[in-house]
Symmetry: C2
Subunit: 172 residues, 2 copies
């Protein structure tokens, strides 16, 4: 009965040119795990961190060719954030002087979907193990996807950010 | 019993300095859906496509502040790829002249985790609806996360890619 009602809603939404937001969760099996020396979450100091991404052995050949890229995109799961800590709005970097933002307008971990996306330098590949630099994920973080970085597609050098964020970058 | 065995394996892996790859899938509820005029998958012609991302209404305030960014990162689900089509290796763009690559060394949809990551221009926000340009996702695609784009963090203008990929870009 419930399913029928959803199907009706679906049909009705399409009729009106609207798209229903899928209710079914997407289930993603980790393809690997992060191994590094960082055991507790932290704000800064990731640039020099070297990590190994251990990929499931049966996916080893799915990495073939990635060693030809200098940078990769790593999608990982924030698996240490309890649901009770999720927030609708946050202060960037927990700094009371900065304007409160919607959590989706920040890179905070307290977001509705526990996903991190980071661009990192690929130092080397050995079979199913990628050594990377600058990954801001702690030891044992589940890795969900790895993608080659294409400047033509992924780099927007002149992207605009708010004034307070520019000031923050300049101060670093 | 099975759980106990897994816990033993876990402990043993840590003892040896290894990290077990998590077996539990990560479950992610879509935060929104794509609405545009593209109803069938395609390779090219995305740059001019305008899409609306309809975010769940209860997350409307979680977007506050995002309108101050010129670009956002959209994480979405390839929900139309049957599991039987997943591949370990693919030819980029299905082109027989290009060298076969591991699927994780490409942006192909036939990857183990059905995740897409795209950088798009944010044209405007109206409450829970973001209008964007250049999102390479078809109508009704589930959106899993939205993040502001920070050039300092996300842009690597001089990232290296293989020669065949450079030649491909130059030919476009």
């Amino acid at each position: 009965m419930r399913a029928l009602w959803f199907r009706f809603l679906d049909w009705f939404s399409r009729l009106r040119g609207r798209r229903p937001i899928p209710r079914e969760p997407v289930s993603i099996r980790p393809i690997g795990v992060v191994r590094n020396a960082v055991t507790a979450p932290r704000m800064d100091g990731w640039a020099s961190v070297r990590s190994d991404i251990i990929v499931r052995e049966e996916l080893s050949h799915a990495l073939d060719g990635i060693e030809e890229y200098s940078h990769i995109i790593v999608v990982f799961a924030f698996d240490k954030v309890p649901e009770s800590e999720l927030k609708e709005r946050v202060r960037p970097r927990g700094d009371a002087r900065l304007p409160e933002q919607g959590v989706l307008a920040t890179r905070s971990q307290l977001r509705p979907s526990p996903l991190g996306v980071s661009v990192v330098r690929l130092l080397r590949r050995r079979n199913n193990i990628l050594r990377v630099q600058g990954l801001d994920a702690i030891d044992s973080t589940p890795v969900l996807d790895i993608k080659p970085y294409y400047p033509n597609y992924d780099a927007v050098q002149d992207a605009a950010i708010p004034g307070w964020a520019r000031a923050l970058e300049a101060a670093e």
